[in-house]
Amino acid sequence: MTATRHPDRQTTWIRRLLVAAGVLAAAYGIIGVLTDPSVYLPNYARYTITVLFGHDLLVLPAAIVVGAVLTRWLPAWARPVVQGALFVTAVLTVVALPLVLGFGRTADNPSALPRDYPRGYAICLAVIWLVTAGLLAVRALRRHRSTTDPNTREHL
């Protein structure tokens, strides 16, 4: 708390400089967006609002709810591993989805998006969940040992 109430002068100046530089840079960008005709302001605004509210009010809460529901009935020792796997699955999907949908393909250029992306995505998912299964097996085995062997109990 003392740091906020009695900030030393150096910190105060670093903060002022950061805010001032930030305001200048952001203003430069905002002026650019507002004045560059190739940005097409209404479309830019619509897209930005869509991704902001889409993320904050749709995708993130949906991810939290799905994660909570899917891990609800898991035993406590398994939950963190499955939560991690769900997180990796979700962010991988963000990157893979535009490729899997493949709307960027054109007939005259077969070298653009040349791979079988649904297959690649499926293999990535298989890797994630195989690793998860392996981690769960290790955890289960350790738990089993620690409850049966009194010598190893103190290590856990």
């Binding site: 960008g29 967006v33 940005v39 991690g84 997180f87 250029n109 040349p114």
Partner: protein, 387 residues
Amino acid sequence: MVRVPEPLTRLYPANLSRLFTSRLRSPQLTSRLGRILGIAVAVCFLTGYISHAIQHPPAWFYWPSRPVNLYRVTQGLHVATGLAIVPLLAAKLWSVYPKLFRWPPFRDPVHAVERLSLFVLVAAALFQVTTGILNIALWYSPMSFFFTTAHYWTAWILIGALAIHIGVKLPIIRRALRAPDRPTPQTTGMSRRGLLTTVGAAIGLITVATIGQTLRPLAGLSLLGPRDPRVGPQGLPVNKSAASAGVTAAATDPGYRLEVVGPARTLRLSLAELGALAQHTAQLPITCVEGWSATATWSGVRIRDLAAAVGGTEAASVRVTSLEQNSLYRVSTLAPPHAADPLTLLALRVAGQPLDLDHGYPCRLIAPNRPGVLQTKWVARIEVLQP
């Protein structure tokens, strides 16, 4: 007054933020994620700015022609770091999500301005990451604006809003990062270390799944690479085909002549005459702004030999114009370091064969350490610009 039943009172604005129960959220976690995310954003901004400045050089900017692969590294890093931001940003926004529902929404006008600046920061970050992903997947229809300029201006908004954010939160960040590493309270969920490991694993997986578009040894492993450096006509990817550029007829016309214009004279050379000039070979990459790259063996006439033939000197810039009519990248100008570099070729052949039509037949520009969009294909005219 009607009494609202208990479960519904939880949705009152004043109670909303209490819906979030994870004890993993803490200033320590947010600051640690934020530190890595800040570095990643800085790398993206810097590499992105370099790419922008090469294409639209400000007066003070100097870009060398060597090392040959420098732009390949900076732009490969730009795209790889941008993709690594996806898990970082997801975890960072999750860690502060309950604060979005803070009630009352602000204490005083200054606090209100600060919270509004957070909307700008989050919106700019989501904009940059999603448009970047759409662009490398060549999916332009959701972006009904010009990606290149919008991505550039928004980068300034993002870096500015980030600097403001760090300035405002600096005391909290410092305190959190200096605090002794206490274990998170024993819960049934993930530990802080577990979450950071998970984010690291996600970054690793995304990187391995895509980096092969520029690192050829990993091409077989990168199942989600938007390009494969081994796939395309003559084993090399293409960004714009001759058909989509509308140059097929002009490029295959037997009456084709390359116009070379200089201070001393103007030459009009047929393809056979170009082939009769001194030929040189260079191993150079095609490096796309979209982050893929592929090395090939090119051969043809040195640009500096052509410039000298029409009276140009080492200090000259060279303007190269394509047969393509309606493209932003129809004309590209070689700055003196690139124009004078012996590796800069007007290539007639790749991998020992005449260029494929999609690679720029009858001839194309290939120069070291330069973005692919500036390596003009289907060259119609070369102009020496003396300073």
